[in-house]
Symmetry: C2
Amino acid sequence: MTKEISRATCLEMDQADPLAARRDEFVLPENIIYLDGNSLGAMTHAVAANVERTMREEWAQGLIRSWNEANWITKAMKVGDTLAGLIGADDGEVVVCDSTSVNVYKQLAAALDMRPDRKVIVSEAGNFPTDLYMAQGLIAHLDRGHELRLVQPGDSVYDAIDEDVAVVMLTHVDFKSGLIHDMDAVTRAAHDAGALMLWDLCHTAGAMSVNLNAAGADLAIGCTYKYLNGGPGAPAFIFVAARLQDQIRQPLTGWMGHNAPFAFDIRFEPASGIERMLSGSHGILGLSAVETALEVWQDVDMNDIRTKSIALCELFIDLVETRCTGHGFELISPRDASVRGSQISFIHAHGFEIMQALIGAGVIGDYREPNVLRFGFTPLYVRFVDVWDAVDKLTTIMDGNVWQDPKYAIRGAVT
Amino acid sequence: MTKEISRATCLEMDQADPLAARRDEFVLPENIIYLDGNSLGAMTHAVAANVERTMREEWAQGLIRSWNEANWITKAMKVGDTLAGLIGADDGEVVVCDSTSVNVYKQLAAALDMRPDRKVIVSEAGNFPTDLYMAQGLIAHLDRGHELRLVQPGDSVYDAIDEDVAVVMLTHVDFKSGLIHDMDAVTRAAHDAGALMLWDLCHTAGAMSVNLNAAGADLAIGCTYKYLNGGPGAPAFIFVAARLQDQIRQPLTGWMGHNAPFAFDIRFEPASGIERMLSGSHGILGLSAVETALEVWQDVDMNDIRTKSIALCELFIDLVETRCTGHGFELISPRDASVRGSQISFIHAHGFEIMQALIGAGVIGDYREPNVLRFGFTPLYVRFVDVWDAVDKLTTIMDGNVWQDPKYAIRGAVT
């Protein structure tokens, strides 16, 4: 891309965009350019309407009967089946429940149980912290000499995988840089060493096509509130390859994972399929939101998603680098689009203040310590002209030293 | 109570009821008598309105900013503080998160960690199964020779508590019979033996006054979707006495339980207070529903709740026993109201069919295997005349053998 790009060019790109009409399905605030769908996705009109119906009809009118009559009892599996189609899984391999963190625990515990003679969990120092924290909590709890082996930035994941490794846990798309791991190759390396492979798809699901079964993945988890637009803190998902479902055991054995939850037996007997990964009762409001949020994907071609995602990201890099030259931004996302997710991250010594100033100007990205400005590009509702306008505002902020206003240096809790 | 009771008497009791106006705060279906608020509480008008606002304003318009600006990030603690007042806990001792099952796991794991030389968890064979299942999952996972010691029906809990016991886990109000444990006495017995005390308040919170701190309880959990009306599968709560919060460690160490979640340190460091019991991100829709559901309790005198609860239950027993004499119902709830929760259970050889016929007639109670008809009386919205009408319909069903219609014998998933 070159300097000849203009706002008019961007508008033309929007006109040619096969996904352009999808934006109408979302409720988006006026005068805001939202480049943070990788933290919290936007809401569709249908989600609000359906959650309201769930409350006013199913809950208030149906009351307890709705566990059967409105199929609440099977909703975690049904939504899982819908989601399975977006990540290359089959029916009966995915269930939607609990938080990503809790699901990491279940999967890691199950993996160690399946590899009792191995003591190492491999992950990356740059993985999203909660994944590492759950591994640490598990290891301390078991107290059986397990080790969390962290690949340091710049080092090779492959070098860390050996015969001591029980499970390799990686986030497919890095939350800071957007770097994509080679799912096929890493899974193969894990299997070659006799280890299990657990993929975290938080920044993948809904951002690009991915095929867990083609890669031979064993386990996966991910959240539904980023590119899947399930709502704040929406229930997460969990994938177990069908071939492992008979043998997998996870420790959070609540009644929803029981083979006959309403027989009220005293002894836990795991359900025969993916249901054994469930624990307690499903949060129906959150699950209803996810269920409806997934409807937007019904007629979407994931190739269109990926094509537009790459085009948005390339446009953003190009515009920042041409219009903000000399202002100290350093790209930390891969320049090669084929190994980059649907986000672009720059580092800058004053990243925090610059992001605050951008938010003040109506461009919402997010900031990650210690110095990362992160921008997510969600092809369902971000336009090319939004990219132009966002960089235009960034340029104004940098050229005019707007970010130096002391009010932008005030720190609160950031998300 | 005597045979002279009539429908007119019940209407008079409603007129004298100081809680009568509370019913107006709830959305209740026409022509239904709802005696299952102990499975799923009814919805208040305010809940639906606030969840809608949470979606349409906080999520759709505020987007990621709402984690700070709408205080999503502190909501689990804020709702916990509100709930604390209903269970005799202090600010900072309760947090609302995850499911009851997952919270049982955290608490039991934490208890075993605090009593490393003891190997026994005491509970009851009649406890709600998911509590037992979670204990079984924990024990199998740890694989360090722990034992789940179950008190059998008719045996004494006190006899099961000895110096080998790490933690006593009891449901304060039995889910089948409604029998209340003596919280002060059992807690004292656990402490005298050097054990920790974990109370499950699922059938207590909102049904009666209870005082965890006066009893010296260590740990508690409970759900918010029964008498607290938080909605289907609403997030549960967790209580840790302030004096234990510095030492408690639970294994599900997600980022929301970190001392500085947004510092993105690689190492988990637990938060200093009750926050360390959190794991992943809060489900905001479910949490908003609970937050608003609790508003109904603001001006409620828990003595009025208990007084009305007992009166409703006494009326129900009296009417069933006088009007359905000879039909084979056997009361399994305590006759002594002082040791009985806000529910009445009868067993009957044809309990399933009778409950189906009752539901067909617009009276919703629930059925618990193998033969229990369970009726919950929620003082906020159940009227005395509802009790009359429910028993009137039951009498018709029994006198006319309506329950023998084959359609009432069909079994599905029951809740």
